[in-house]
């Protein structure tokens, strides 16, 4: 009986976080029904991951920007433009794919520095700076592809980034991807170790912890979900490279936000910029970092998108910023700034991409897709605002 009460209390307290997962599950179930089981097939899950990749990368960077109470509207066309540069470098100048990637990331950095300096040094509002960026990079994308039109990228290694799978061991049995399974098991073990360690630590300092059955129940549930996905992927072709790239970016950003000074400063500035500055935080430098990192991630997103389409097109990047911003907010970034987690942003990105993917499978017209996504987005944010008000 007590357990039920505790569970109820937990749900009530964390309704905002749980809602996101509940929404994701409901969306998946609905699509599973309407697509007659097509949605959760191994092939489509792989597809979903590859589609979510470039959105998730953008959304991770956007999370930092939104926590700081800024916005970056230019990310879509920066991604498109950077993707086009990658294609041009490889096809027209014979640049090696890895070098091309490095150059494009450097271009992203330069764009981010330019926008970040405008915002921090001159004090031009981010909305205006990046709206101008939207114009500029949309134009540059068109200019760079004007002569050639869509560029087909024949580079196998490059295209594998968003279409390929991690290698498997030569002695792996037929029909099952061994390395994928191993990674899944390792991930689950690491999850248990880190959670148990954190729990012991919290207890040591007399902080509140959930009761043991709920703790273990939660871990088992999380492990089951991970293993379910892993087994599905392993029985197909294994973990896509996109998942690995997103995973690495996610781990880095999660580490920055939660474990480093820089992360603290980002939350501090978002929560109260004046207090942060008077506490010795270099607000301008931190903000500059966020914009620089955003555009580098936009460049990476552009690389993934070009790789996914195996070509660079003049329409690449259209409305990416909408998906990225919506993902962050659905993932729980506070509209008033100062609050947000990149791990939750990933769930937000999954919600948005599931909607796109599911509706595509169902053959819903793109115009209706925008309306549906918009409605889900505004419900999520309105719910967020209400639940935060109540918490006060």
């Amino acid at each position: 009986m007590n357990l039920g009460k505790e569970l109820g209390g937990l749900v009530k307290k964390n309704i905002r976080d749980y809602m996101m997962y509940i929404a994701l599950v409901i969306i998946m179930i609905i699509f599973q029904i309407f697509t007659h089981g097509g949605f959760l097939q191994a092939r489509n899950i792989t597809n979903l991951i590859n589609q979510a990749g470039y959105v998730a990368i953008l959304a991770i960077g956007m999370t930092l920007i939104l926590i700081l109470k800024h916005i970056d509207l230019s990310v879509g066309y920066v991604a498109g433009f950077c993707g086009a540069i990658a294609a041009i470098l490889m096809t027209q100048h014979g640049v090696n794919e890895w070098l091309a990637i490095l150059i494009v990331l450097a271009v992203g950095l330069a764009i981010g520095m330019y926008q970040g300096l405008l915002v921090t040094r001159l004090g031009v509002p981010a909305f205006v700076t990046t709206l101008a960026g939207m114009f500029i990079f949309r134009g540059l994308l068109n200019i760079s592809l004007q002569k050639t039109g869509t560029i087909i990228v024949p580079n196998k290694v490059f295209n594998a980034l968003s279409n390929g799978y991690i290698f498997d061991l030569p002695f792996a049995p037929e029909g099952i991807h061994l390395v994928t399974l191993v990674i899944g098991v390792v991930a689950v073990v690491l999850l248990w170790i880190s959670q148990i360690k954190a729990r012991i630590n919290r207890k040591k300092y007399d902080f509140k912890v959930v009761s043991l059955p709920i703790f273990i129940g939660g871990l088992i549930l999380a492990s089951a979900v991970i293993m379910l996905i892993i087994i599905t992927l392993a029985r197909y072709q294994g973990i896509p490279w996109t998942a690995v790239i997103v995973g690495v970016v996610l781990i880095i950003y999660n580490f920055i936000l939660n474990k480093t000074k820089l992360g603290r400063y980002i939350y501090g500035i978002g929560g109260n910029d004046q207090a942060a500055e008077l506490s010795g935080v270099n607000v301008k430098m931190v903000t500059l970092f966020a914009f620089a990192s955003m555009s580098v991630l936009a460049a990476l997103s552009g690389i993934l998108y070009t790789s996914r389409l195996q070509s660079a097109t003049p329409t690449a990047g259209t409305a990416f910023e909408m998906d990225a911003i919506a993902s962050s907010y659905i993932g729980g970034v506070a509209v008033s700034g100062g609050i947000g987690r990149v791990t939750n942003t990933i769930i937000g990105a999954l919600v948005i991409v599931s909607l796109t993917n599911g509706m595509n499978l169902m053959g819903v017209d793109i115009s209706y897709q925008y309306v549906v996504k918009g409605i889900i987005f505004i419900i999520a944010v309105a719910f967020d605002v209400i639940s935060r008000k109540k918490a006060k």
Binding site: Y205, K261, R264, G268, E277, L278, G280, V281
Partner: protein, 518 residues
Amino acid sequence: MEVMEDYILEMRNITKTFPGVKALSDVNFKVKRGEIHCLVGENGAGKSTLMKVLSGVHSYGTYTGDIVYNGRVQKFRGIADSEYKGIAIIYQELALVPELSIYENVFFGHEIMNGGTINWNETIVRAKEELKKVRLDVDPSLKVKSLGVGKQQLVEIAKALSKNVKLLILDEPTASLNEDDSANLLDLIKELKSQGVTCIMISHKLKEILAIADTITVLRDGSTICSMNTAEEEVTEAKIIKHMVGREIDNIYPKREKKNIGDVCFEIKDWSVVDPVKGREILKNVNINVHKGEIVGIQGLMGAGRTELAMSVFGNTPGYKITSGEVKMDGETVRFKSPKAAIKAGLAYVTEDRKGNGLVLIQDIKFNTSITNLEELTNGLAINENEEIKVANYYKEKMNTKAPSILQKVGNLSGGNQQKVQIAKWLFAKPKVLILDEPTRGIDVGAKYEIYSLMNKLVEEGMSIIMISSELPEVLGMSDRLYVMSEGVITGELSAEEASEEKVMQMAISSNPVTLEK
């Protein structure tokens, strides 16, 4: 024969609970028609909550008990309902639109209409009448932002009067006013009383309360402790304090065990500063020095330039133009380009506005404590979280911050505890010189005493403290030496022995340096 008292307001057995907290329990509060009724209590005693229940911010149904106003039980569902019945509340944070004119503000929300449009001529004429009632002699077409805080407050009262207010509630009206404006306001309240307006005033300033109140009600921990009629019994500050805290505080300013004052360790020399926004000089040739182990007070009225002095030295975040002067720490000339540089050199600044620029309210105690000195907690890339928890717990204990744990959000703490967190975060930066700007503003008597004791302890350990404060008794009670500022100039310097309220006041209202006859 006993006279039937005429009560304009009776709040009966009001109980209001928030999730997890009982803010008011069974409060009874009766206000006689035409009196000035002061409501006092420590922070978190429930004064503001009670007034929010009265004005309908906490609407009917969210509390239990009855509000009887003019003999009838009221069911207010919002401020509009209570205003309609003639109850107006004026908060500490003024609710005026700075970019609009005075007359637009006075009738904001209840514009004088002429068919479908606003009758501006009538509005201006009526606004002038209302301004006369509050004795504010200014052009009503001026923008509100061009007025000082004191005058803005008068505009607020004029606004309330224009709505034909019968019961006026003032929430700490003099908290941000200087002595002159305060006195003026208190006079006005008395005058309104003679015109039949009943007034409820919430205040921490006991002197004012004693000067003005007909009845004083004390709240403590969400309950009514007592109601005292100043005509019937003799009420003293000590008596009120006793009811507020439930104990006698015989000495508000703790004595220091040993004074251990060393050499000069911090100096500001010929410091002149121009505010480019206002386009005028805000500090003129300021000279100040602080010895090791000394508490130096800086007293002055609102707008004297005390906070500007601190801000311009502490990394100059407002972007002032420093036209001359230098700062010396331990004899070395320094000029801090950012708060970060100032902190590194051993300076710390506890700001006067803890919610505005002191604390990150949506974060917890741990976050707010460690932010000034994360370098010390970082090895390699990552913050050492165990160390961080230890540090936060250490300072929570040292400051006696009352909170369930260091994971408590700072926004949920009372003013006094917030201030303790703010001081804790600066102690963790391990400063040599600590600047405290209005360290006890808006906090309760008990927490004040704790902060005073802490200050004594810190200087005994060799720290130097600059205390900026507009509360005269506090500056006189705590400082070893004090400077008085007025209009951006240091108008005098006094040792603790020679300082008196009269002398300080004389300097604070002068615009030139004052030399006192010894």
